[in-house]
């Protein structure tokens, strides 16, 4: 089996190497007392306060834009707001029996994934069915590289449940219709690599990529595995993370909707991987928090600070605690450290200079759109400039400008059309008038055309008068 060997093929420049921390086996977190299921504000809630729900019972309906959400514990619905359904757990965890659906084609899979609430578990939480629907891929890329150096949930999953992960990948291949399947795994995850290799069927190709952040970013992973540059779409590639494949396996083989996920918790350099029900308050997973501690979800590099009352949702891949503050930014000293680590070979120091304005043309010239906002540059910046955040907001400002420009262009187009129509009308009327005058000018009184014209004009006048008298009488009668 020549194709199943793990080997590295390509490399990228830049990136950061960060020593991994040791971690233990996946633990199952205790059921929360109250699960606060996050729901989309636009979705339709199908339960009401006081209802008894079972574990896995849908609480919202799905459509082609949003996936369903499910009760992650059994118990009673105690409150419903625009974006949460809170369920008081009865601690019995009585399962809800889902209808088993038969799967014949891609559409059936998409329907199933939608009703099972499947979203990408790498952190972006993009609906799986929407992703599948967006393109007919030739290649399926499986992201088995962790997306952040402080996250270990996918590695733990592969170490302990690789057979199921592989079955999930099989499902992903069928559901996407891809002809080729590549799994990219970081080379320092030796135990996970071994486990994956042990179950790997012939038609999947396992490729080792260097354990350098951001190897787990889709675009970087694609380049590392295939040498192809550019966005995934341009390369007819679809990418799923291993945890998402595992969820597919659960949905298809076990009819189990997405009600739990593995979360990496880093507390005082101690790493735990917990299987947590969606909607569990993070406080219940941590030792008592001090007020000054910031809770960060989404990893060390691209994570965001959330409130201490945050509840685990489908995108919560990790919870980190942070006590010291980010030092204030000082002026850029043009040291170029940021350029050295940028995996996209951009020039962050110049981008920074132009992003503060922002100067759209220059930013485009500097390929701002290629920035994957990995944050490598700010991690090494001696002036502590939050570069990736600035690039993100510059992108959004440009987007806004562009939509506005587009709107203005559309309005201008409409107005110009309107003007053109008007001038056309005047030209037409002028022409008509001219041709009539021409006919009337002819001396021959018996001219048929002339007669007809005069008759028509008389008729028009008569009609007009009739209308006027009508109106007048109307007025009189109302008086």
């Amino acid at each position: 089996m020549p194709d199943t060997q793990a080997h590295q093929q390509h490399s990228v420049r830049g990136g950061l190497y960060i020593d991994p921390l040791p971690f233990g086996e996946i633990e199952v977190a205790p059921l929360p007392a109250i699960a606060h299921i996050p729901v989309d504000a636009k979705s339709e809630i199908s339960v009401s306060v006081g209802d008894t729900v079972l574990t896995g019972q849908p609480v919202t309906t799905c459509n082609d834009q949003i996936v369903a959400n499910h009760a992650s514990v059994s118990g009673r619905v105690i409150s419903i707001t625009q974006n949460t359904v809170s369920i008081q757990s009865d601690q019995l965890d009585t399962p809800y029996l889902c209808k088993v659906q038969s799967l014949h084609n891609k559409n059936d899979y998409q329907q199933l994934f939608r009703s099972m609430g499947l979203v990408g578990l790498g952190g972006a939480a993009f609906p799986v069915d929407k992703k599948l629907n967006s393109l007919e891929p030739t290649t399926l890329l499986i992201n088995a590289a962790e997306c952040d150096p402080a996250i270990y949930c996918d590695e733990a999953l592969m170490q302990e449940r690789s057979a199921k992960v592989i079955q999930g990948i099989e499902i992903a291949i069928v559901a996407s219709g891809a002809k080729k399947c590549i799994i990219g795994i970081e080379d320092n995850k030796s135990k996970a690599l071994e486990q994956m290799k042990a179950h790997l069927p012939d038609h999947m190709k396992l490729i080792c990529v260097p354990a350098i952040y951001p190897s787990g970013a889709e675009k970087t992973l694609l380049r590392l595995c295939t040498g192809k540059t550019g966005a995934l779409k341009e390369n007819d590639t679809i990418c799923f993370n291993v945890a998402t494949c595992y969820a597919m396996y659960q949905a298809v083989s076990k009819s189990r909707p997405l009600i739990s996920r593995i979360v990496t918790i880093v507390e005082n350099a101690r790493v735990r991987n917990l299987e947590v029900r969606i909607g569990t308050p993070v406080k219940e997973l941590l030792t008592p928090l001090e007020r000054s501690t910031s809770v960060v979800c989404g990893g060390r590099m691209m994570g965001r600070v959330v409130t201490q009352d945050h509840c685990v949702d489908k995108r919560t891949n990790s919870i980190l605690l942070h006590t010291d503050n980010h030092p204030a930014a000082t002026p850029c000293i043009r040291c170029g450290a940021c350029e050295e680590v940028c995996p996209e070979s951009l020039l962050p120091q110049h981008l920074y200079w132009h992003a503060t304005t922002p100067d759209t043309a220059k930013l485009q010239e500097l390929k701002l759109d290629q920035c994957i906002e990995c944050g490598c540059c700010d991690a090494v910046c001696p002036s502590h400039i939050p570069l990736a955040g600035l690039f993100n907001s510059a992108k959004r400002t440009i987007e806004k400008e562009e939509t506005e420009q587009h709107k203005a262009a559309l309005a201008k187009y409409r107005y110009e059309k309107h003007l053109a129509r008007q001038s056309e009308k005047t030209v037409r009327q002028r022409k008509q008038l001219d041709s009539k005058t021409e006919i009337l000018k002819t001396t021959n009184a018996d001219n048929e055309a002339k007669k007809a014209l005069i008759a028509k004009a008389l008729q028009r006048k008569k009609n007009k008068r009739a209308v006027e008298t009508d109106k007048k009488s109307d007025r009189d009668s109302t008086l």
């Binding site: 043009r334 500097l366 001696p382």
Partner: protein, 336 residues
Amino acid sequence: MNQFTSIQSPLSVSQTMKLVLLALLPGTLVFTYLNGWGAIINIVLSVISALIFEAVAQKLRSRTITTALSDFSAVVTAILIALCLPPLIPWWIPVLATGFSILLAKHAFGGIGNNIFNPAMVGYAIVLISFPADLSLWLQQPVGGSVSFNEAIGAVFRGGLTVLPNWDVLTGATALDQHRTLVLQDSALAEIESQTKGLFAVANSEWLNLAYLVGGLWMFKKRVINWHIPVSFLGTLLLAMALHKLLSDSPLSLSVNLFGGATMLGAFFIATDPVSAAASVRGRIIFGAMTGLLVYLIRVYGAYPDSIAFAILLANCTVPAIDRLDIWLNRPGNGQ
């Protein structure tokens, strides 16, 4: 900003400056050995006045004074200036030089990070143009003509070297001066090298340059500087000199040019100031080459025997153009 990152602390400005000071230590010691008490007086005067000017500037700009002083960049600037100045110049020359560099070149432009010119070189260049006579008198090396501490203090505070009764026997031409005169007289290369001969390159200043080179390599190892500027600077300088020799049959000595004057100080400590150099790898290589070329042009065709300061200041002027060129070269469709 809810974007949050903190992973390994990169070297802060003050840490970098401390490392630079350490790297300057061997050079400073050799400089002091060569120039005697005058060197120490220059260093002390520069450092004290730089700290005072820095505090005044911070006060004027309503900043906190302590943090600004603790970043050590003013000290580095002061020492770089002192290492360019000859010993036993009147006390107000180092003070003026640091004043111009801290107040004008640094703070008038908006402080560290916003200065377009290398502050130390601005200060030095201004006094060099204003007081060319004082700035060209160097004592005999080593140990600065054996002038005693009392004599030195007296000279510095009473109008400079020329107040000493026997000042003309105490002074000596620098290697680059000798080299320049001899090249202009079209002497043979062998003669030039024999007149300036030291152990391996140029008497006395070879040790100074070697000390700067060692400090520079150590900074490179500590990742305080990148190789780009020193390598392209020295490479271009050597290449230009060699080509000149080849084409015009001139008796230029490459070893004197490499190990004489402030060549290594410029290559490793001055041109590498990130703020006033180009910001990217490609830009830095162009910047270094530009500096090397300018040093060659001024040394061979100009009126100054050493030319590091002017070359670096002129190269600083080209930085915006280099940045633009760099962006242009990096634009989409130009490969990676």
